[in-house]
């Protein structure tokens, strides 16, 4: 009886403590105004090359405030893909195609809140994807904490080149919750969680699976639900340098479990140079229906190596140079970034050699950023 009373008292005090914390989050500190994102212009030239695939193109983004509380962002992104990946060379022939993506977003700030409404449309010859998103961020606890809630809805149309009889669709839902927290005058952290749900045609009409050594069209489930959780921390080390670390855990109903770990270091050189270096490691387990060469007939079967057991290890660097700065007017930076990444597949065989497949890739970015 005494123990029950103690437990009840504990619950009351814990509830009071939680109430105090929430009350503090919502009420403590003077009312602050959330900031609109800076007026920005960005121009990017990007190149990915590796595993027989080359994808490159330009991208542009402009963000401009049109009133005290409202700003508009427009962007264009082009991917010119030349694909001779292992899937393509072992089951089809090399091809080229171009993807265009247009996006438009509006930001509105009111007191401590920022609301972002956005839409994008992406077109390639056999695939069209449309996205609509809404994000709300709210500063609380005297500006030390920012809470973000977001939602994205997507609709895709899937086609197949030279096969007008093939037509299918996919729908996507994403729900986000994030908290960014100032820990000390030098350290900040964030926690982001996302629930994703997909429905419809979730594979590729070109890809083949192998059953008893014979190539057959892949058969994927038409639904997929996933959860992802990411923790990030960044700290000022005191010598005009900073350390960052992040970890993401992912799992879905196809039984893929993924772990991503990234460590980074940033440092200023003189007044105008900022350099970043990072290491990234990713590992995942295969999907339940993935098979390199299935030895039984099953409802679903895939040999998509994105669903296999593999890991990637990457090392990257970025350099930013402040080219022009007129305080209060504008600032222009020239930037370069390079990442070298190695993919190592554990249950995907290179049919040309009989060995487990592995390849390396490079990601190069050259970009100009201006704020005004």
């Amino acid at each position: 009886m005494a123990a029950t009373r103690a437990a009840f008292t504990l619950w009351r005090r814990l509830a009071a403590l939680l109430g105090s914390l929430l009350g503090g989050l919502l009420a403590v500190g003077p009312a602050r105004a959330a900031d609109l994102p800076e007026d920005t212009a960005e121009g990017l030239l990007h190149v990915y090359t590796g595993g027989g695939v080359t994808a490159y193109g330009p991208a542009f983004l402009v963000r401009k405030s049109v009133a005290d509380r409202f700003s508009l962002t427009g962007s264009y992104y082009l991917d010119a893909v030349s694909n001779a990946s292992i899937d393509v060379v072992t089951t089809a022939s090399k091809y080229k195609e171009t993807r265009h993506e247009f996006a438009l977003a509006g930001d509105y700030v009111y007191r401590d809140s920022r609301i972002t409404l956005g839409g994008s449309t992406s077109h390639e010859p056999d695939y069209t994807a449309n996205r609509f998103s809404l994000d709300i961020s709210q500063e609380v606890f005297g500006g030390m904490t920012t809470v973000i809630l977001g939602f994205t809805r997507g609709d895709d149309k899937v086609g197949k080149k030279d096969s007008p009889e093939f037509s299918d669709s996919a729908r996507h839902w994403q729900y986000r919750l994030g908290v960014s927290q100032i820990l000390t005058p030098r350290w900040i952290m964030s926690v982001n969680a996302e629930a994703l749900s997909d429905d419809g045609y979730l594979g590729s009409p070109y890809r083949a699976a192998r059953v008893f050594g014979a190539a057959v069209p892949e058969r994927n489930p038409r639904t997929r639900s996933a959860r992802a959780l990411m923790l990030r921390v960044k700290g000022d080390l005191g010598s005009r340098d900073a350390f960052s670390a992040s970890y993401r855990y992912y799992y879905d109903t196809w039984e893929i479990k993924g772990h991503t770990l990234e460590l980074g270091y940033s440092r200023y050189f003189q007044e105008t140079w900022l350099a970043d270096a990072y290491l990234r490691y990713y590992t995942q387990d295969k999907a339940l229906f993935y098979s390199d060469n299935a030895q039984s007939e099953t409802t679903y079967v895939s040999r998509n190596r994105q669903l296999s057991t593999f890991n990637t290890a990457a090392v990257g660097a970025k350099v930013s140079w402040l080219w022009r700065k007129v305080p209060g007017k504008y600032e222009i930076k020239l930037n370069g970034a390079y990442e070298f990444v190695h993919f190592k597949f554990k249950d995907f065989t290179d049919l040309r050699t009989g060995d487990k497949y592995a390849h390396s890739a490079s990601i190069l970015q050259l970009y100009v950023t201006g704020t005004f």
Binding site: L10, R131, F141, A193, D236
Partner: protein, 85 residues
Amino acid sequence: MRSQARTGPAALLALGAALLLGGCSSFSVPTVEPWVKPYERERLADPIMQFSRSALPERHVGHVREVREGSRGATGVQGGGCGCN
């Protein structure tokens, strides 16, 4: 014995409560206030402390990874399209 087994967790809970709240004399509820004042956030406002500095390069790398890895989401980067055949 059964009675002891049942009250065990409750006693542990009470002990935990004492440890958790014991620092507060007479169990008063502490008030939590922002401990990093706005004027102490100069270092955090520097670009070196931003998780993401430029939208386009982040979106590009996010897309490259999303079409090659099984994991997605929780990065704050919006993807689009396919490009994954």
